[in-house]
């Protein structure tokens, strides 16, 4: 699924990298606020749901080649985080939906589960 479709489904807006949404393919998702946990378990091409908003999340996304970072529950990335994401070409999204709701919708979108 393209990231642009997913963005609509989770009521997200792009904070950085909007021009890349239509191109970027989403392989899956990982949810965690512990950086070493993400480092150890998230896979290339996945989106990462977190409420950590500091610039180091961008470094993690770069090293893992993640599709995007999604800040959930209304969390807003720091200015420095946005600047770093612009520089590194990482897509940042934010949504007001809770982490649970966001993850649930993504699961549905990617697997088709729960549809009639």
């Amino acid at each position: 699924m393209k990231l642009s479709e997913l963005v609509t489904g989770i009521e997200a807006v792009a904070v950085c990298g909007e021009q890349g949404l239509a191109e970027k393919e989403v392989a899956g998702a990982y949810v965690s606020d512990l950086l070493s946990d993400v480092m150890g378990r998230a896979k290339e091409g996945e989106v990462w749901l977190t409420i950590q908003t500091h610039p180091n999340v961008v470094a993690v996304a770069v090293l893992l080649n993640l599709a995007a970072i999604i800040f959930t529950a209304g969390h807003e990335p720091e200015e420095q985080t946005k600047a770093k994401a612009e520089e590194e070409g990482i897509i940042l999204l934010k949504t007001a939906l809770s982490t649970y709701e966001t993850a649930g919708r993504i699961y549905q979108l990617l697997t088709g589960a729960g549809r009639a």
Partner: protein
């Protein structure tokens, strides 16, 4: 080829830059994507430990025909009990570091899993050297 990258202590915003440079170098020399991924994860964890636990240090990248080596060297407090430090979940990270999502105690385990070989040379009060070796498929 040997390259050295200084890493500043407590500087969370620049943290990850050495690993990022290492990634770019490995890409340029055409290493395999899966190998790059493993090196990146381990290098990042080693770099973060320099930042969080050691007051900074140095990352060294060595490229050989059949081996990539990443060395994280510091003159920090050293590790009193290496076996304990290797255990997943054990962490002495500060409250600030934990608030930022560090301190899961998973870094060393990630390094061990990603590297072909991991050596820890440490002395309390003197510092720590973590050597991470990755066999490349070309041999």
């Amino acid at each position: 080829m040997i390259q050295r990258f200084p890493v500043a202590g407590e500087d969370f915003s620049a943290a990850g830059e050495a690993s990022s440079k290492i990634k770019n170098i490995l890409r340029q020399v055409g290493e395999d994507a899966e190998l790059i991924r493993r090196v990146c994860i381990a290098a990042y964890e080693a770099e973060m430990n320099l930042v969080i636990h050691a007051g900074g240090g140095e990352m060294i990248l060595k490229l050989d025909t059949d081996m990539v080596e990443v060395i994280a060297q510091d003159r920090g407090p050293g590790i009193p009990d290496v076996e304990l430090a290797m255990q997943e979940g054990y962490s002495t990270a500060s409250d600030l570091a934990r608030e930022m999502g560090f301190g899961a105690g998973m870094g060393m385990a990630n390094m061990k899993r990603c590297a072909s070989e991991m050596l820890i040379d440490t002395e309390v009060g003197k510092g720590t050297t973590v050597t991470l070796r990755f066999k490349t498929g070309k041999n």
